[in-house]
Point group: none
Amino acid sequence: MQGQGMSLSAAEKLRVVRALDALGVAFIEAGFPASNPKEAELFALLAEVELETAVICAFGMTRRRGLDAAADPGLATLVASAAPVCTLVGKTWGLHIEKVTRVSREENLAMISDSVSFCRAHDKRVIYDAEHFFDAYREHPGYALECLGAAVSAGAENVTLCDTNGSSLPQQVATATADAVAALGDGAVVGIHTHNDAECGVANSLAGVEAGARLVQGTLNGRGERCGNANLVSVLPALQLKLGYSCVAPERLGLLTETSHLFDELTNITPDADQPYVGRNAFAHKGGMHVAGIQADSRTFEHVDPAQVGNGREVLISELAGRGSIAQRARELGVDLGPAGAARAVEQIKQREHRGYHYEVADASFELLLRREAGQYKPLFRLESFRVIVEKRADGQVETEATIKIWVGGRRFVRTAEGSGPVNALDRALREAIGELHPELARIELADYKVRILDSHQGTGSVTRVLLDTSDGQASWGSIGVSENIIEASWEALVDSLEYAFQPRTAAVRNE
Amino acid sequence: MQGQGMSLSAAEKLRVVRALDALGVAFIEAGFPASNPKEAELFALLAEVELETAVICAFGMTRRRGLDAAADPGLATLVASAAPVCTLVGKTWGLHIEKVTRVSREENLAMISDSVSFCRAHDKRVIYDAEHFFDAYREHPGYALECLGAAVSAGAENVTLCDTNGSSLPQQVATATADAVAALGDGAVVGIHTHNDAECGVANSLAGVEAGARLVQGTLNGRGERCGNANLVSVLPALQLKLGYSCVAPERLGLLTETSHLFDELTNITPDADQPYVGRNAFAHKGGMHVAGIQADSRTFEHVDPAQVGNGREVLISELAGRGSIAQRARELGVDLGPAGAARAVEQIKQREHRGYHYEVADASFELLLRREAGQYKPLFRLESFRVIVEKRADGQVETEATIKIWVGGRRFVRTAEGSGPVNALDRALREAIGELHPELARIELADYKVRILDSHQGTGSVTRVLLDTSDGQASWGSIGVSENIIEASWEALVDSLEYAFQPRTAAVRNE
């Protein structure tokens, strides 16, 4: 979350935690348990969650200089959290000890040792993150290794070598890691934590593992401060498919593409089409020779089988869009498409995805699309027209109102509402009009509203995609709208979100 | 140019050629001299250009099977071009020879040998690109090396080992390259050509050089098919600043950031803010400790000196920003805050960041904030009022118009404009009103428009943050607006983006 402009709520972070757990990672470092109320809320939520493969780590620093570990408020917060593992970061580099923390080398060793011991005494497992290890090793290998030794002697089960400034190249990582692994012997597992400042984040992680490291710390899609961290989405398939390590179950590796995209969607970043393994172009083939080669033997032009990482060979056709899988999805939803309906639905989806729709996160709009093709769609109302006015007056006041004219069950409703913004005003006006006949609408609330500008190089003239999350207090569903006009895109998603709730369906399917 | 959706005119390619030459590269591969009229035009233009450091290569393939080299139309075009160097690509991998070209191993060797000889006989220097070399070497090292030998015996001065499918990892590249270098001895220079499918394109190039390769083939910003090629913008500084190779003169390396951005601008790709060495975030520092460390010794938090690659140090403005760094930023911008002004600015920033502003990516809004506190702010106009109407009619048509009433230099302007959406309409109306007095406005374009909903769990009632990127064709700047109302947030960012361009400042600061 240290990448520029990244922000997730505690509930969204919980979705990421579940996705990482499904992918099969060993540890999830969830931040400092109380750096702000949002983090505290996250750790409270995490205490209630049951995970299949992952263990939660709380992140903190070694104690302050000249302070008893027991008196350090940061360490107290750390051991008070429900997380079974503490990741402690501390110094190893003379330059930092001298110019940043300004303590003696002995005091730095004591800071490491005391902090690890304190966490161990509170029954925490400890991972020691050796900050700037590779810079430190290049200047004074002896002292750098001494810092690792202090952590292990005090009870750390793992020391992770961090290339904090991203300065190192793979050969340097290989040499230093091999030396650390040899120095620690069976005392502790060695981990590797690299950054991408030299565009070697992934290669450095692999070099660390080849030299004996057995834990890789990285991030989804390599997001992180400056140029990012080691990209786990590329490290994982290289370890498993190219170097023969068994990191996660093969079927979990098949979730890689989906997990990568989910994270970008949540953080409102456009997924990189050229991203290795999971990008839309990663297995895109041009020209007849490539296609013929692939048909003869996929190894001619593909370095791994795209299915192993949950990606596909074809461009612009989403995972949903095969006719077979559409028909199957429809059956699961209780929608009877038939072969012709399935073909039409596939065609619709292709066309719409080309225009910027994206059904992976919009289950409600997807179901409505299937229902329309199956003739099982029931409109909630018929729109005659709407009008939204936003006015900023001379005194600086902004006023927003929406007027809506609709037909419901043969009756015409004209309603006007004010709102905090244009979409809020439209939502209120629509609810006033429909709410008279459908009082149960009051239960349904918009939970989340996301806007993305597609092809944003064209400034304010580009296409807008709106994603809505809606909830009735029990289930929740997503809808989508796409238009050049943000108001119309929002309207489309709004209508889908309400109509979805009123479709006739069996209770079993409804709460699935 | 094989990246998806990339397209440049011959004249634009010539700008890239000049920029690469200024950067100091040794060879520029300009494509096949006649694959289409645009390529033919480019080679005609190139024949007239005098370059300082670079030599132009024409790219082609070995002769077709069963054909005399002299009868091959592709080779004829190649030797007819004015380029002094021919890059010939040919097969080395049994799998391809068997399943794609379907020739015998002997015929493949003859295709290499004949084609190189033919180009040499026409006084061309020859680089032989050994396609799929690393896959080939892993299966049959003997035959792969035999192919290289055939090229060298026929007169190729350089054989470049290509990881065409991007399948290899650095250790594999190191081993195979060392073997090829040993096998060829003094017969030819070895080159390395890698792709980024395993996110190791840069590391693989470096591994090749460390194993003895002396030519790196790559692209600006790593653009290329699928996941891209080796990124020269990262390979070059690593070779020169980290591994001690002398590739280009130091002052030429200082053009790296500018060259990287120029290429993205020409191909209409938003430069990646997180790009190693040249990205806006590559040397961005958050928080007081980092800033203090940098001031004590830049090596504490920076892997190279940003000035060496033509980048700058960006100190991020955030809740953590102290009064000292605000004052320093102001001085850099030529804004005279004074101690009281600095205190007021810090207070403003804190309050605004609490409400959702985020100045890290909005340098223009940040400067305007400082200017207001320093009394060095010049408004572009005074708003009387605006009104935006979005109407969806009974026939499904959507109409959007904005009316704006402003005062500029004592004159009142009332203008109405239609747009593809509400913000587009507002932008147009504002430009019509101001453009009469400020025709230079036409140069300024909105380059990117981003919307984020903060605390988005409250549905459409939540706070909207709009980020705009604006460009005058040379420099670009970011502005921000925050409001419950998306229209007002957009308006705020829009006004900042234009006012920033018109603030009185010295040329030195402006183009810094």
